[in-house]
Amino acid sequence: MSPPRVKGKWPCWVLLIPLSIMLLAMAPWLSERMPSCLFHEKTGLFCPGCGATRAALDLSNGDWFGAMRNNVLFVSSLGLSGVWILVSAVSEKFPEVKKLRVFRFRLWFLWWILATLITFTLLRNIPVMDFLRPVSQ
């Protein structure tokens, strides 16, 4: 008897890719119907997601720079997530390729995500870092 090999599964979160494409496609429709950010209106602060809808709208129009100006975290995490999901899916499919294993999900990723989120939120609310704020209000 030797330890069995567990068959690799195609990760279900690959579904995030068509979901993201659908979100980008819906961005113009969403931007016309979304209310202004009540949190920003009430507090004057910028939340981490502030500008994400506008960034998605810019992305759907092919304006990468405008999207980055509105929410750099959203755009970069969208790109990184896309690459990571694809490579991770390939890694699951071809486990013998060792270099791809670094892309497999680890729980400590969550701590990095949380730290990035908090840092980004703090930075974009500091006056000297106003370039991280959405450009169009």
């Binding site: 008897m1 030797s2 330890p3 069995p4 090999r5 567990v6 690799g8 931007s31 016309e32 119907r33 979304m34 209310p35 202004s36 950010c37 009540l38 949190f39 209106e41 009430k42 507090t43 939340c47 981490p48 997601g49 502030c50 500008g51 809808t53 506008r54 709208l57 699951e92 486990p95 013998e96 060792k98 294993r101 497999r104 729980l107 969550l110 701590w111 995500i113 949380l114 989120l117 169009s136």
Partner: protein
């Protein structure tokens, strides 16, 4: 013949056959909380979850009802030879699931079972709480403060209750606390946003 492995005190033992396993259960050497595994199982499970092995009667004869022959019960067997699996690739050691009782490493052929210090698994509710909490902070302006913050808080409290239970060796307290804090913050931000908010001003955000 099914060959069993079991883990006790951070060590892995086996393979042994079912008769030997039952004998060790009967003598109390293997307790209901100890993990067992055979090649037909996806992962290690506590002995008490293995119906025909669970020490309800605490005697090996109880397995006769599961179809073991009397000859097996009389146990004139010789212990099987130790498994000699290929050594695990050093570059992959960090990626082995952190438990001496780990099931076979996904996608790695010939991964060996390396005895080592016991590292408990992370509580699933703690992970769920942290994920929901993080998402609630991002999406609180899309009602995520409610629909993600509340599950984060519930999962966080349930997780802490489980982790505080006596005999629980799981980890993830930090994740549960982080999920709780993020969840409460998401709910708080949502409430701040809604208090006196003017929802009629539809414009691009």
């Amino acid at each position: 013949m099914i060959e069993w492995f079991y883990g006790k005190g951070g060590q892995q033992f086996g393979p042994i056959d079912e008769v030997t396993l039952s004998a060790r259960i009967a003598t109390g050497e293997i307790g209901p909380q100890d993990l067992v595994w055979n090649e037909g199982m996806d992962s290690w499970k506590p002995l008490q979850e293995i119906r025909h092995l669970a020490p309800s009667g605490n005697h090996p004869q109880s397995q006769d009802s599961e179809g073991l022959t009397p000859e097996l019960s009389q146990s004139s067997y010789a212990p099987p030879a130790e498994i000699k699996a290929p050594a695990l690739d050093d570059s992959f050691v960090d990626e082995v699931p952190q438990s001496p009782y780990s099931p076979p490493v996904e996608g790695v052929e010939g991964a060996s079972y390396t005895p080592g210090p016991s590292l408990p698994v992370t509580n699933g509710l703690a992970i769920a709480s942290m994920i929901c909490g993080i998402l609630s902070l991002v999406f609180f302006c899309f009602c995520g403060g409610l629909f993600l913050g509340i599950p984060a808080v519930i999962c966080g409290h349930l997780s802490l209750n489980q982790l505080n239970a006596p005999g629980n060796s799981q980890q993830g307290r930090g994740m549960a606390v982080a999920g709780l804090i993020c969840g409460y913050l998401g709910i708080a931000f949502f409430i701040i946003m809604m208090l006196g908010g003017n929802g009629s001003s539809y414009q691009e955000i």
